[in-house]
Point group: C2
């Protein structure tokens, strides 16, 4: 029988992933952590009640949106019930007996490697090896006892695996934030929800996107974000993901959604939740 | 001294890359090909006149935009002078002495691997190995004589490296198109340009995006695409990349651009060119 634990949280990556830090920031430290190999598995675990909640990254302030997760939000029947902004601080991590000058190989997720490329280039004779996971790279160089290898990951990952931080703040740009979404099966609205996310498509006609945005503009509703994603099987047609300042109990929010449903050929509400205004 | 050859075309990847096929479709076969390791190098080679033209992918109908190239368009002073749509047809390619049942490792770019994941899963006991390049993976398994390895790449790549196609049409979804842009240094307008691309930002105020799109909607100008990218150093602020039906000689196009420049805090015209309506 599957366990149903309100405070079990699934996230992609190994223990020490940035998503784990986001989950702890949102829920506190008394949660059961369910590291998951893929984003898809995070969604599945929440959908099948193996996990009570899922935490996924949706957008990085340097790299942009994590499109795979937009696609998964569309596909799965989960609700966004919260968001968590996190400052990303990358570290170069090695085995206890290693040192910065001994590093000849740097392992990490391509995104993290890209965010540190100038600083990595300053290390001499270093080979860059992309992996699927930041914290997983720390685990790898520990388990395989790679002495000349460093992994780029969180301080938490270094602590969890008992590894040494060879260089802190190795990212090139300090203004590096990731926005995470908290997912659940519930349709109950979180308290003090003041932000709503939805996805829709419109007919492929001149002015259709403009008309669809008018449902917000005509009601002075602030758009926080708009993101387009290709519609599979319909080349060069798009889905639009919109985040807006909408309290679900307010009539202007309800009216905007009703108005949009007249214009859109497809619409799905992804959730209403409390906006995280820290770090913004 | 640097060569200045009108028909030399830089593209990312090894010989046989999909970008090479796009370049040949656009310019014909009598061009000098300049395979380049990175997208950044493609831009640099055109900017410094090492290449006359560059060809870069900008958008795939399944995966979405290639954001790195949007960022590079902003950074470099090149003009878009053309576009080329290409149907992507992936093949599993091996050494001449290999066979489909012998394959235990599949090499390719992560994007290509993702587009073939269901079909790869049908092969038994196969390890998936991400690389930087589709055609480069064919070159690799040839040069290293990897008998149990297959690479996912174009038919052209198989031909160029004298390798065997083990399975054609290995992609999961046949509606797979990539749109490529052709770049040059010139500010001369291509003949019959009927599409214009530009990038802009607006103040972070309610309704600002809507107002900016009104410059097109109020003139019945069709938007083909809108894409947002984060503004580096300004978390959660965005640049908007817009493609619209604009003939640069038409007054309504000129008026829309003038109107947008009143509203935008930043604006850059990326080019006007003839729209490729094939495959759309």
């Amino acid at each position: 029988m599957r366990r149903q634990n309100k405070y079990s949280v699934a996230f992609q990556g190994e223990r020490g992933a940035y998503s784990e830090i986001a989950a702890r920031s949102f829920f506190g430290n008394k949660i059961e952590l369910l590291p998951s190999e893929t984003f898809n598995l995070v969604f599945k675990r929440v959908e099948t009640s193996v996990a009570g909640f899922g935490v996924i990254p949706i957008e990085n302030s340097l790299a942009g949106s994590i499109h795979q997760n937009y696609d998964l939000l569309l596909k799965h029947r989960l609700r966004i019930i919260g968001e968590q902004n996190l400052r990303i601080s990358h570290n170069l991590i090695g085995n206890a007996s290693s040192s910065l000058s001994a590093i000849r190989r740097v392992f990490s997720h391509p995104q993290a490697l890209m965010q540190c490329q100038n600083n990595i280039a300053r290390l001499r004779n270093v080979e860059i090896i992309p992996t699927y996971d930041t914290a997983g790279s720390v685990k790898k160089i520990k388990e395989e006892g790679i002495r000349d290898g460093g992994a780029i990951a969180s301080e938490l990952a270094a602590r969890i695996y008992g590894m040494k931080i060879l260089k802190r703040q190795i990212q090139d740009n300090s203004e590096n934030f990731t926005r995470f979404l908290v997912l659940a099966r519930t349709k109950e609205l979180p308290k003090s929800a003041n932000k709503t996310s939805l996805v829709y498509s419109v007919e492929n006609l001149p002015g259709a996107l403009f008309r669809s945005l008018s449902v917000f503009a005509l009601r002075d509703i602030d758009l926080y974000k708009i993101e387009s994603r290709p519609l599979h099987g319909k080349p060069w047609e798009y889905l639009f993901y919109v985040d807006f300042a909408g309290r679900p109990e307010d009539s202007n929010c309800q009216n905007a959604i009703k108005h949009l449903s007249e214009i859109a050929t497809f619409m799905k509400i992804l959730g209403s939740y409390k906006r995280d205004t820290r770090l913004t």
